[in-house]
């Protein structure tokens, strides 16, 4: 059996392309690892054994015929349970959709990954309809953090993050509307991308908030992130590399756990003591994102909620119902403020290529105490872990969530750039990784 748990995307593809390992062996190893690890973590909702072995055999056949299967040859991966997988119902984590008509085609992201040789192995757990930051799913269960199973993995793409952090898969796809890739990546000690809004293919991904929804990847290295992102993107910006980093202060320096504050200070020192930028009105930006999400998400589900409210996860249902009743005026106000806040951030990005901010307040909350401290009072983690991510995705900016080299439980930062600078931003993360300033955290191995 091949121990896949420490193999990254590049290592897997190199082994397959060079003939040292077959794609079928890699897929089998991933399935075995899922069988061994998943019962304790609950990251995987469905294993796709037949499909995975067939895709892997096709990659091996291409190699045997002297053809190049692509840059992700034989690399096993999984997708959050909201991507269309041909022949399966797209559940979006909802019990009410488990018997929905099967998807007739793969999501566009899966099509691109398959064309590059990647092998789809599993679908992965999430908060129902992506409305939450903890991956506490009433149907599938709570995805547990591989670094401490008494703690959340984060969400809503928690299954994707936990599967990669636990070494079940070299990479996975998730979606991020308000932080749903960045938060679980941070809490699980791995990398994740929230791309420039609408720059990666959303076709075939179950929607939540069309103004904010994006898809992206989780990996255990920045180099692997670059490989997967390039395939999903199809082209790369070749603009100059990014430098001139700054640390976001103000809102982004408040409410931090001491360990996170100390880790950010160390990062700043290692980068030559970063300048600190205080953006105005961040609290209003977060509230605007919160309201925009509630409004669009509520309207998306309004008819189904009216017809059968008890078929929803209670934790999602009551949020969606309240959001569905929001007046149009507040949505218009949130959208109008977006333009104002965008100007503030554009000014900051004129002086600094990369803005650095915490991804979460600190480490993963305990499952038996699902709160985080905000202004001295405990607040529900499910709704509030996006404290530092929501104001950024509100503007559609590209972000790489990058793990900090910390003792103890994982924590990460957001590396933020101007729109369209996604590839250069991943290159910047690779640079920091090479200097040891950011680093994925092993699963206690």
């Amino acid at each position: 059996m091949t121990d896949l748990s420490t193999w990254g995307v590049g290592a897997c593809a190199d082994a397959v392309r060079s003939g040292r390992l077959s794609a079928v062996a890699l897929a089998t190893a991933a399935l075995d690892r899922i069988a061994a690890r998943n019962p304790a973590i609950i990251a995987v909702t469905r294993t796709l054994r037949d499909r995975a072995l067939a895709e892997a055999a096709a990659v091996d056949a291409q190699l045997a015929a002297g053809q190049d299967p692509g840059p992700l040859a034989g690399v096993p991966y999984g997708v959050k349970d909201l991507f269309d997988v041909a022949g399966l119902p797209t559940t979006a984590g909802a019990a009410r959709l488990r018997d929905a008509p099967p998807a007739t085609a793969d999501a566009e992201a899966i099509v691109r990954l398959r064309a590059a040789g990647a092998v789809l192995v599993a679908t992965l757990n999430m908060d129902e309809f992506a409305y939450g930051f903890v991956t506490d799913n009433a149907h599938w269960g709570i995805t547990r953090n591989p670094h401490d199973p008494a703690r959340f993995a984060g969400g809503s793409s928690g299954g994707s993050a936990a599967a990669v952090a636990a070494g079940m898969l070299p990479f996975a796809l998730g979606s991020d509307t308000n932080g749903s890739i960045r938060i679980p990546a941070s809490l699980c000690g791995i990398y994740g991308t929230k791309p420039t809004h609408d720059s990666l293919p959303l076709a075939g991904a179950y929607p939540f908030v069309h103004t904010l929804d994006d898809i992206g990847a989780f990996t255990r290295s920045a180099r692997d992130l670059a490989l997967v992102d390039a395939v999903l993107r199809g082209d790369a910006d070749d603009a100059p590399p990014l430098g001139r980093p700054a640390l976001l202060g103000g809102w982004f320096a408040a409410n931090l756990a001491p360990d996170m504050a100390a880790a950010l200070d160390r990062l700043s020192a290692r980068l030559g003591r970063l300048p600190v930028v205080d953006l105005p009105d961040v609290a209003r930006a977060r509230s605007a994102a919160f309201l925009l999400t509630a409004y669009e998400g509520g309207r998306l589900h309004r008819d189904a909620l009216a017809a059968d409210p008890l078929s929803y996860d209670p934790a999602t249902r009551d949020r969606l119902i309240a959001g569905a009743a929001l007046p149009d005026a507040i949505y218009a106000q949130a959208m109008a403020f977006r333009s104002v806040f965008a100007e503030y951030v554009e000014r900051a990005l004129a002086d600094h290529d990369v803005l650095i901010a915490p991804a979460t307040f600190g480490p993963a909350p305990r499952i038996d105490d699902p709160t985080i401290p905000i202004d001295g009072a405990p607040q529900p983690a499910r709704a509030n872990l996006g404290l530092y991510t929501q104001p950024i995705s509100f503007l559609g900016l590209p972000v790489v969530a990058a793990p900090l080299p910390v003792e103890g439980l994982p924590m990460g930062v957001q590396l933020i750039a101007a729109k369209g600078r996604d590839s250069a931003l991943i290159d910047y993360a690779t640079l920091l990784e090479g200097r040891g300033l950011i680093a994925a955290k092993g699963e206690g191995r």
Binding site: D281, A283, R284, S287, A288, F290, L291, A294, R302, L305, A306, P309, L310, P314, R317, D318, R319, I321, A322, G323, A324, A325, L326, P327, D328, A329, I330, A332, Q333, A334, F337, A383
Partner: protein, 59 residues
């Protein structure tokens, strides 16, 4: 945009859980099960807090 909704009007007019939930149910056009009342009311208050902050700069 609903022209009947002034820009700074409260999102919801009722305050008690049952009345607030009933107001919301009426807007959506649904029969709200009892199991939803407390959660819907709590989330409505949370949204009101965010609306106050967005409009006035403080919660």
């Amino acid at each position: 945009m609903n022209p009947d909704t002034p820009p700074f009007a409260p999102l919801f007019t009722q305050t008690a859980d049952v009345d607030l939930a009933a107001e919301i149910a009426a807007r959506i056009g649904m029969d709200l099960p009892d199991a939803c009342v407390a959660g819907v009311a709590a989330n409505a208050r949370l949204l009101q807090g965010h609306a106050d902050l967005l409009r006035g700069g403080q919660a």
